[in-house]
Each structure stands twice: as structure tokens, then as C-alpha cells.
């Protein structure tokens, strides 16, 4: 599975307006609605479910990245969105540091294997120092989307 297979590039955000975790989640989900990946009427429930999930345990796994994710019955196709914050967001991350890159993942409720594969794809890239650095430096939607397309070719 490639990163470009799961990311909806129409939903990429180069600089989040939100200054906190819940606001960032809302902004990304609303962007996915705008991009046509999820229905407007499901947005509120999805936002609530992701925030609830974050409260159970932060998906800010350290190194400035967070991967909020849920399995939701309104999702019929697995989809991810990439967002960047230049100011940094408090995600209650495990290393207590601010989060600059958020990859939000929505999975259908009934496919555990596909969900794990998507998480593997996301973390395979996010744990690479070069990829994280490039993403943090990417100032525009075009630059971020280019990185997503070329993710497999970026050296460590």
C-alpha cells in the first residue's frame, strides 16, 4: 500500500488555522467533506468519535506527528488527509512536544487488516527523519502533495 493510494490530496491543508487539537480535527474533517471524501451529514459524528478516541489515548506518538484515526460505519472507503501546522499544536503527545504534522485516517468499521496496513504505510513514512523534515518545510498544498506522491522515492 502506498501513501498516495490512501491520501485524499484534495483535502491537504498546508497551514492549519486551528490552534488546538479539537479545532484541528474539525478543520481536517471539514476539509474531507469539501473534498467529497465524506458526507456533510456524517462530519459531526466523525469529529466527535475522533475526539473521544484522542481522549482515551493520544495518537501524538512523538517526533511532532499525530495520527488521529477511527473506524467509522459512515466510511465506506478508507481515506486519509494530511495537514500541517507551522505554529505547532498541543496534542497531548507522548513526548509532550507540539505536533506539526497530522495524518488523519478514517477506516470502514469492518476491515481490521486494511486499517493495519494503512497505519503501517503511514508510520513507515512518518518515522523517517527526512520525510518528516520535508513535510514540515513544505509550505504549500502543492509541495505537500508532491511529497505524498514521491514518498516511496525519498531517501532516509
Amino acid at each position: 500500500m502506498k501513501l498516495s493510494d490512501i491520501v485524499d490530496k484534495k483535502a491537504t491543508i498546508a497551514d492549519l488555522q486551528a490552534k488546538d487539537r479539537d479545532g484541528a480535527i474539525k478543520e481536517i474533517v471539514n476539509k474531507l467533506v469539501e473534498a467529497g471524501s465524506i458526507k456533510a451529514e456524517d462530519a459531526e459524528d466523525i469529529i466527535k468519535a475522533i475526539i473521544k478516541r484522542e481522549k482515551q489515548g493520544s495518537t501524538g506518538f512523538g517526533k511532532g506527528v499525530a495520527v488521529p484515526h477511527i473506524k467509522h460505519p459512515a466510511t465506506d472507503k478508507l481515506v486519509a488527509a494530511v495537514a500541517r501546522s507551522s505554529a505547532g499544536i498541543d496534542f497531548a503527545a507522548l513526548d509532550r512536544g507540539p505536533v506539526y504534522i497530522i495524518i488523519l485516517l478514517l477506516s470502514p468499521a469492518d476491515n481490521a487488516e486494511q486499517h493495519l496496513q494503512a497505519m503501517e504505510t503511514i508510520f513507515r513514512h512518518l518515522q523517517r527523519d527526512t520525510f518528516r523534515k520535508f513535510l514540515r518545510q513544505a509550505g504549500t498544498v502543492e509541495q505537500i502533495n508532491e511529497l505524498i506522491d514521491e514518498a516511496e522515492e525519498i531517501p532516509d
Partner: protein, 110 residues
């Protein structure tokens, strides 16, 4: 003194010259959702309580059990066989605790 024959039989132990214990155990992912973020976090948290270096293997892949991101890279679904290897003063306890979390407690899931 009670002799723990049960756990001794299950966990292979070797003592090398540097007095670093090595413990190895094969486990299987039993919970339906597999090793997703929450279990990976539980696993890494528990692994961090031990001084030993702990490695988890799946086929040819091996990751540091103390790193959530690395554990997530295993993408281990239900039924996946893993090998836990610990090296250090508390190697045996580490392997026992981790295998209990994975197989017996199933990360508190179904």
C-alpha cells in the same frame, strides 16, 4: 522456595559470559483487531518498564518493542505469529509480561 517449573519450561533462557540474560518466546496475536494503535501503545509502555533490550520479530522484520511507531510497523493481524526476544538483567520477566499481555490478556480486547 517455590520452583516455577511452568514458566521455566515455556521460556528459553541462556546466560552468556557478560551475564546478560537472553529470553525468547513465540506468541500469537489473539485479539480480533490485531496490533493496532492502542495495543501497540500498551505493548511499548509495558516494554519500557524493563531494563532489557526487547525486540519483536515477524518473519524477517524485527522492531524495537519500546517504540510505538516501530511496533505499528508490524501491522500484525489476528493469528500473526511473533517472536519476543529480550536481552538484559530482567529479560525473563519482560518476555513473560509481554506474552501475557498479548496472548492471555489480548490487550483487554475481544
Amino acid at each position: 522456595m517455590q520452583f516455577e517449573s511452568n514458566s521455566l519450561a515455556e521460556t528459553k533462557m541462556n546466560v552468556d559470559e557478560s551475564n546478560n540474560n537472553l529470553a525468547v518466546k513465540d506468541v500469537r496475536i489473539e485479539n480480533k483487531m490485531g496490533l493496532h494503535a492502542r495495543p501497540a501503545m500498551q505493548l511499548a509502555e509495558l516494554a519500557n518498564k524493563f531494563d532489557s533490550d526487547i525486540t519483536i520479530r515477524k518473519d524477517n522484520q524485527s522492531v524495537n518493542a519500546k517504540s510505538i511507531m516501530e511496533v505499528l510497523l508490524l501491522a500484525a493481524t489476528q493469528g500473526t505469529n511473533l517472536q519476543i526476544e529480550a536481552k538484559g538483567s530482567d529479560a525473563k520477566d519482560a518476555v513473560e509480561a509481554l506474552s501475557k499481555l498479548i496472548e492471555k490478556d489480548k490487550f483487554g480486547e475481544e
